[in-house]
Symmetry: C2
Subunit: 484 residues, 2 copies
């Protein structure tokens, strides 16, 4: 290219860089997370292109994520774990150098061994869910597929061979033939053409500008949408949907009894059995996820204690769910739960969980009605990712009557060692019992998927509840052990 | 043990559990982080003891950290990285099942290969610095060494052999002889007796209570101290020390010139050289850490851009340092920088850094004078950990004159594409020029360690500064490449 033409391109680039910078600053105000994906064959110039983009952005709000062969840790987590965890907050742009598509192809072609996934049929579905979940949450997702003519590619690689410092990298390219990658990517791009921008790499002058221009167009379009939306009425957040829901809780009322001696004997036996189960889970690399939800003072904590009492502490974690931190509030609400997903062979126990979205956040109006309605499907997708990964997922709702709750509140208030457990918030929540009842029944109805069932436990009698929970966990695990 | 005696122990335990729970709640209000370490030989009962402790604590504010053979990721980070990153916030208790001592012994005995550390002589020093840094920051560190009589240990292991579900674990114990571990730990405990609590494991009844009682005593003592401290006058935070400091900045004043053509030629050559250096760093697994500090508008960002312009984006990261998040504020101020420490072979560039502690936090009184004075040593220790790990650490301070800053502020304000870069805060900082000058000179004086030197660059001429920084980086890397 002549110097004169080069200068023309550089001048154009300068303008584009200014525009991209401007758009990044404005969209940050609108809290738009942006994900930009670069897929492409070896030596196609995607490193150059993504680096130029990185230079054009404000490094305080931009991250570059290079996809790598999964580490030990990542291989012990569900398929898309690394990408969910490494996704932008509401003020950031993330650039992905190779992405979940590369990971998918590598897993499909069995380059990545030791995976819990048999076959790849579910993985594309998980990718679709992942992108949908983030898009629905407001993420702008821009995907580039960079291609290059074969002789240009060869020339790039030859130049790397000629430099003694980069020779090792060129050799890596030779070893790691990417014909498979190219064939798969072409198929993916072809089947979903509208969501991909195809770049045929020319020179850095031409192609950098093409990338920048595409991004400017996409972000300008998005900005227009955001401005329009800002003028619309805010979404309702009163927690009321159609007012119809099946009364599931009702089926689990009444009283059970269990004598103290009977309880003690059974508890000890079940706890020892639970410890043995832990070792088998560990040996067979099966993750066990136990979710505990329930009314205040229903006895979630007491149930959890009985489960872990004889366990090996190096193999379980308890996750408690408090109010989200500032960073967590700037992400999809499932982000913090993705971060805590257990690794293979471990037991993860949740004392409250992601279901806060459809309970307290619904009742208190922290989330809009639309967000809540969307959450049921997202939660089902999330849990399906966990069961696809091989996890046993059991969700307990500990149900007590309104009278029983009052009795327990008053008992706590009277005991100097327990009075700290009861707060004004508990009393306020109690006043909203009916609203919670509605939300809970909706939740039990809409998120009771076969592989991750809800188990409502009558908790009016603590001893009965503890024994029942332990028995349920043990039975589910034992069935799985027989399964495969 | 007779049943009657067992009951006595259980009753005593209940009281201790109540006390521990109370102390945890109160010390949380005083913002005391607590670390509890369990070291001990195989089958000594430390799992049982630490699990009982875990059950006694409030799971919302307690974490259990099990030391494991370092993962790939951990092996590419400095020695104590995993423990610094996994340390409690000001409201948490962390229990360590095996700890940095186990890791040290494993590295010393060369069980852990692939390490960048030659020899172990520096590692004990790093442990001392680590504990000192956290203790000075208010951490209560309680260390248990659990021992057991040989025949009791054998009995424990035999029982594991007899259970088909735990047999594999007993076999692991047999394979992994821990004679070395025991010898080393005995030495460590003997040399520092005051800081260790030795538990001779009897039965779970006796030993659990012994552990709980020790913790109650330690925490009660600490609580007393905290109550006393609360009555004392708050620490000064005016940023004034003795008012004497060497005027280091003065040596780097004046003007340099560099013609545009000369600049362009040299820049292009140096950037290509920098790219080659990146490949060599990667191949030789050497981390490169570049810290950029300087006056507002000194040109830190422009300097950084010139360094990365031709680099491979998969091998460098830019860390910008904004105001800390709520979680970061609840940890030692170095915590967030430990989290970002680069892995082997990568380049990490800091646009502002941990030096904020001794600049803005000193000048604005966000940290007390005592905290700031302590910070110099802590920073030196931190950077020494990085250089021990094999990192090249270079710290640039870009110095411009007060007049030059004014010119740049005004130019930014006049340019519609740059006006966003200048904020009221910049003008406020400018008014405190003299205070900053004092803080900067102190910093340059007290943290200029040989392996991680300060390089003051005159930035009045941007072109000169950029070329000088690039040349400095290239020279330092080239020297290292010749070194070994």
């Amino acid at each position: 290219m002549e110097e004169k033409e080069q200068k023309k391109y550089l001048k154009e680039k300068e303008k584009l860089v200014t525009k991209v910078g401007y758009l990044q600053r404005v969209l940050k105000e609108y809290k738009v997370p942006v994900m930009i994906v670069f897929e492409g064959v070896h030596a196609s110039g995607k490193g150059r292109l993504s680096n130029e983009l990185l230079l054009a952005l404000d490094s305080r709000y931009t991250k570059f994520y290079a996809t790598h062969a999964p580490t030990e840790t990542e291989r012990r987590k569900p398929f898309l774990w690394q990408y969910f965890v490494n996704s932008p907050s509401h003020q950031e742009i993330y650039i992905y150098y190779r992405s979940w598509y590369s990971l998918y192809i590598a897993m499909k072609n069995n380059i990545i061994k030791d995976s819990l996934y048999d076959g790849s049929k579910l993985l594309l579905q998980e990718i679709r869910n992942f992108e949908k979940t983030l898009r629905n949450d407001g993420t702008e997702l821009i995907k580039f597929y960079v291609d290059i003519e074969e002789d240009k590619q060869k020339e790039h690689i030859r130049r790397m061979y000629d430099n003694p410092r980069t020779m090792w990298k060129a050799q890596e390219y030779d070893r790691d033939n990417d014909e498979d990658y190219k064939r798969e990517m072409e198929k993916i791009v072809l089947e979903d053409q509208n969501s991909w921008h195809r770049i045929k790499y020319e020179t850095s002058f031409v192609s950098v500008n093409e990338v920048l221009e595409t991004i400017v167009n996409r972000l300008e379009k998005r900005l227009k949408k955001e401005k329009k939306r800002a003028e619309e009425e805010p979404e309702k957040r009163d927690g009321f949907f159609n007012g119809k829901y099946p009364d599931i809780l009702k089926k689990y009322e009444g009283n059970h009894d269990l004598s103290k001696e009977d309880y003690k004997d059974r508890l000890d036996r079940l706890q020892k059995e639970m410890r043995d189960i832990q070792y088998t889970l560990y040996e067979r690399k099966i993750p066990l996820i136990l979710v505990f939800e329930g009314w205040d003072a229903a006895g979630k904590g007491g149930n959890i204690k009985r489960i872990i009492q004889q366990l090996d502490p190096t193999g379980y974690e308890i996750s408690t769910t408090a109010a989200p931190t500032d960073i967590e509030l700037r992400h999809h609400y499932l982000w913090r739960f993705w971060k805590q997903v257990p690794k293979t062979g471990h037991i993860s126990i949740y004392d409250r969980s992601w279901y806060g979205r459809v309970m307290v956040e619904r009742v208190e109006g922290f989330a809009s009605n639309k967000d809540v309605e969307r959450a049921y499907e997202e939660i089902n997708d999330f849990e399906t990712s966990l069961t696809n990964f091989g996890a046993i997922v059991l969700k307990f709702f500990i149900h007590i009557s309104k009278e029983e709750q009052l009795k327990r509140f008053e008992a706590r208030q009277a005991d100097e060692n327990k009075v700290w457990k009861i707060t004004d918030e508990d009393w306020r929540n109690r006043e909203k019992w009916d609203l919670y009842e509605e939300a809970i029944n909706d939740m039990l109805d809409k998120t009771n998927i076969k592989k991750a069932p809800w188990l409502v436990i009558n908790g009016n009698n603590k001893r009965y509840a503890r024994i029942t929970v332990l028995e349920t966990v043990i039975t589910a695990c034992t069935e799985r052990f027989l399964d495969k």
